[in-house]
Subunit: 156 residues, 2 copies
């Protein structure tokens, strides 16, 4: 499946992922949000909860896929995230065969986009200034938490 | 870091992962278990809870890493799983920079071992008959649940 969303739809769904990210920020967490879309409807949403839940695996995309619940397949779904998925979340998209991943930006963290593409996942980078600024501000304010989230040890 | 565990230690920790898998089976779940080890001690453990929690991301390794909680780094850790990690769980090992992954078997599911190795993770396959039989029996008894877990649609 190629990306079924128009530019306007992508902006709309990315806005929902940004709303999730801002919800996470308001909880004291890392501002990264995600939504899963099928047939023009959001069927799952989530945000990073590493800090809130003391859970290093609670990345936005994992929370989103968790909240969407079990399903037989991910055909016709599109996974949105405010940030290019990390290796774990990219792996989830590959494992579940999510055909299209739309990222708000990859300037803060390019991560595993090349690998996803090599595995047949279509990856779209929207290069959103809002997504970039939101996360850049957080990373500047709380570098230890941010580095921990992307797997860079800071306290050695 | 190269694998710090002797063959005897690997057998011991794999046994703990198998205990987790059997716990999952007793709950009506998919029998895959995992433990995270540092300095000869288990610092996290978990089992697949897809069925129990209606959560497709609750693979054994993700549950194990979740239960281990936040930590600054995964240096000197070894992640055990009764089954070779899928792309999502392999991605978690890569993302968190877990240096060594020990799998009970990869006959049921080879998954992402080559990719992990290409990313610098040492991967050891113990080719355990017990792990293989446990999962093979489950996959035969409940093929739909098993196929769902490894991302193969069955109800189209």
């Amino acid at each position: 499946m190629s990306n079924p969303h128009s530019k306007e739809e992508m902006m709309q769904f990315l806005k929902e992922a940004i709303a999730e990210a801002r919800l996470g920020l308001s909880e004291g967490g890392i501002p990264i949000g995600s939504v899963l879309v099928r047939d023009g409807k959001i069927i799952g949403r989530g945000h990073n909860r590493r800090v809130q839940n003391n859970n290093p695996t609670a990345h936005a995309e994992i929370e989103c896929l968790k909240n969407a619940g079990r399903m037989n397949d991910y055909v016709d779904t599109v996974l949105y995230s405010t940030l290019m998925p990390c290796a774990m979340c990219a792996g989830a998209a590959v494992q579940f065969k999510v055909p299209v991943v739309v990222a708000g930006e990859n300037r803060t963290f390019k991560s595993a986009s090349d690998w996803m593409e090599s595995m047949g996942t279509q990856v779209i980078d929207m290069d959103s200034e809002e997504c970039f600024q939101m996360l850049a501000e957080f990373a500047k304010a709380q570098p230890d938490v941010w580095n921990e989230d992307i797997g860079i040890p800071t306290k050695n």
